[in-house]
């Protein structure tokens, strides 16, 4: 065995780590940071039909337990705009939240 390997073999035996692609630390990525447009709900037009909740691909629209209203979790909403597209009452509109990134 090469000297490099021998040294690394000892390293392997004394280390407390797993070998290979193992994931043992869990964290949620703030996907809301990725947004450029954000959904704005007009609560007067909203009939609480739940279409937006059904179609949201990130599953971040939930009913509030007390008010029964549909709330978008802005920590994870990526601003894809599907809720805007499917809303039958046009109660959701996407608004620009971030400036375009310009690489000058």
């Amino acid at each position: 065995m090469s000297r490099q390997s021998k040294k690394l073999l000892n390293q392997q035996r004394s280390s407390n780590s797993l070998v290979g692609p193992a994931g043992t630390r869990y964290s949620n990525v703030n996907t809301g940071d990725w947004r450029i447009h954000k959904p704005v709900v007009n609560t007067e037009l909203c009939t609480l039909c739940g279409q937006c909740q059904d179609y949201c691909p990130a599953d971040v629209i939930n009913r509030d337990n007390d008010t029964g209203k549909l709330i978008v979790d802005m920590k994870y909403c990526k601003g894809c705009g599907i809720c805007d597209t499917v809303c039958a009452k046009k109660a959701i509109k996407m608004e620009k939240e971030m400036e375009d990134i310009r690489y000058d």
Binding site: M1, S2, S5, L8, L9, Q12, R13, L18, V19, G20, P21, A22, G23, T24
Partner: protein, 398 residues
């Protein structure tokens, strides 16, 4: 110790039974089908206590085996040729996630031309997938090295899957006397399987095989390389243990009358049995020839190769796969690197697609080597002169 009449496939099935495999997901393919069939019989008559999953393809077969082994039991699948090709994508999952599967590969040519017969192209095409590879000469070696493969693959410093390669038809279907072992005898060598490193651990759950960024990838590949280096160090020790327990004489390469040879052939697989016979016959006629048989191909025992070949003899490497587009066949390239670009080293392509490697072919190679020719290019030693006149165009008659 029990003597049985087994062909190569039978020897594989017997070893899998003694390794007490718990999940089988083998998809049939010529010439491996008797392995799948025999294992299903063993499960049906309770000779083997295992779950037999009827998968729809080799891709699923290996995927199932990996999942099953990660649950903490020995799992098994076996394949050949295009079956190995179909599971190619998943081979890297087994090796990269350090799942110590042992998979028999019954060597058969890849298509096209569509062949059913013996060729090393299938496992050669997978030589960089991170799997260990053994190439065996006869049914006895197949049986013994299946058990040896389990032990080295599962070692915590290795944790690398292994292909146990046996020549299609010439070995897989050749009935021979095999000294097999009882379960108690096997257990002296091969302990029960214990899942290590990544597996479905309900006490310490983990995500297995997640996306790995550039910052970590190289180190993870190097971890696998180190596993191979460890295998190269540990395998001789494991062979000593095996040899002592069962009165055998195995090594990772076999030096057959090489020490005073003027010409040596380096080769792998069932052809080595024929080469030994030719060596003996030619020696009776005063020609000093020898065979260096390679059993362990991955990791490649490059130091042993150079130490077993004396400095003055002519060396010929027989490749049982074409190595298309390369200067020489794959085994030659490894041997050449091990011998650091030695002058009297010659490469021969023979035995493709089920062509028998005859005593005449081997004798011809030895005679060429003894002549010590100027360097020759990759030589297709057993092809007919009429290379193109095979399939005639049809003549339309008016």
């Amino acid at each position: 110790m029990i003597k049985k009449m087994l062909d190569g496939n039978g020897a594989v099935a017997e070893a899998i039974k003694l390794a007490e495999v718990s999940v089988i997901s083998a998809y049939p393919i010529t010439p491996q089908s008797p392995i799948s069939e025999k294992l299903s019989e063993m499960v049906e008559n309770r000779e083997l206590d295992a779950k037999y999953i009827r998968v729809e393809s080799e891709h699923s077969a290996l995927s199932c085996a990996i999942g099953a082994q990660l649950s903490g039991v020995r799992a098994c699948t076996a394949t050949a040729s295009v079956g190995l090709a179909l599971m190619f994508e998943v081979l890297g999952v087994a090796s990269g996630c350090r799942v110590p599967l042992v998979m028999p590969v019954v060597n058969r040519a890849l298509v096209s031309p569509w062949s059913l017969w013996c060729d090393h192209q299938d496992s050669m095409a997978a030589r960089d997938t991170g799997w260990m590879q053994f190439y065996l000469e006869n049914a006895q070696e197949v049986f013994d090295f299946m058990l040896i493969a389990y032990k080295i693959a599962e070692d915590s410093d290795v944790m690398t899957p292994a292909m146990v390669c046996l020549d299609g038809f010439f070995l897989s279907h050749s009935m021979q006397t095999v000294s097999t072992l009882t379960l108690e005898e096997v257990k002296k060598f091969l302990p029960d399987y214990k899942a290590k490193n990544m597996f479905f651990d309900f006490d310490n759950p983990m995500i297995i095989n997640n996306l790995t960024p550039p910052e970590e990838f190289s180190e993870m590949r190097l971890q696998q390389e180190i596993g191979f280096d460890n295998a190269l160090t540990l395998l001789p020790e494991i062979l000593v243990e095996f040899n002592e327990l069962y009165s055998k004489n195995y090594d990772i390469v076999e030096n057959y009358r090489c020490d005073d040879a003027d010409a040596i052939i380096v080769a792998m697989g069932s052809m080595t049995g024929t080469i030994k016979h030719v060596v003996n016959e030619m020696r009776k006629n005063g020609k000093k020839v020898g065979l260096l048989k390679i059993i362990l191909f991955r990791p490649f025992p490059f130091k042993r190769i150079s130490s077993e070949i004396n400095s003055s003899c002519s060396v010929g490497v027989i490749d049982r796969s074409a190595g298309l587009g390369a200067q020489q066949g794959p085994v030659f390239l490894e041997v050449n690197a091990a011998l650091s670009g030695r002058e009297n080293l010659y490469g021969f392509i023979a035995g493709l697609g089920g062509r028998d490697i005859t005593e005449k072919t081997i004798e011809g190679i030895f005679e060429k080597l003894l002549d010590n020719p100027d360097s020759i290019e990759k030589e297709w030693i057993d092809t007919n002169k009429d290379v193109f006149d095979l399939r005639k165009k049809t003549v339309v008659q008016k």
